[in-house]
Symmetry: C2
Subunit: 67 residues, 2 copies
DNA sequence: ACTTTATGTCATGAATACTTGACATAAAGA
DNA sequence: TCTTTATGTCAAGTATTCATGACATAAAGT
């Protein structure tokens, strides 16, 4: 799964630690999600979309093999 | 976290087993998600939203305590 | 009455998400 | 040069998700 977390963070000028704190996750956990190592839970995806004022679909995109 | 999976299933007249098959999960797994026992992964949430032609935000709503 | 279907639930185990503490590196500032 | 900041990564442990097989129940069909 791909994501545009880095872009949205850049818009807000937030570090990974900033975002992690806002959505209630550890910095390392967020890093693993942002770099595509972990698939986040829907709760985290919804929280992220909310703080970025966007949608889960815009923030996360299924790969062709996952669709 | 709340969800409207049952409603969307009803629109399509699908059983839990039908939906589970479409999104690649076990019937019991889907039941646990639909009844709110498990928080699904974002991959599953995106697949469900897709087959129902809706969005993750419409299908899943954070509780006030989770927001 | 019997069978089938849909749902809910439980137990066990495997896979994955997430935490914490730690360390490395590169970039920027003092 | 020294320090700080941001990011990436690793290891070990805990928590959660998901699979599978099983059983119960209620509703509907025969």
């Amino acid at each position: 799964m791909k994501n545009t977390i880095k872009v949205e963070r850049a818009k807000k000028n937030w570090t990974q630690a900033d975002l992690a704190k806002h959505i209630g996750i550890s910095r390392q956990g967020l890093n693993s999600i942002e770099t595509g190592k972990f698939v986040p839970s829907t709760v985290l995806a919804l929280r992220m979309a909310k703080v970025f004022n966007t949608t889960v679909e815009i923030l996360f995109q299924l790969d062709d093999t996952e669709a």
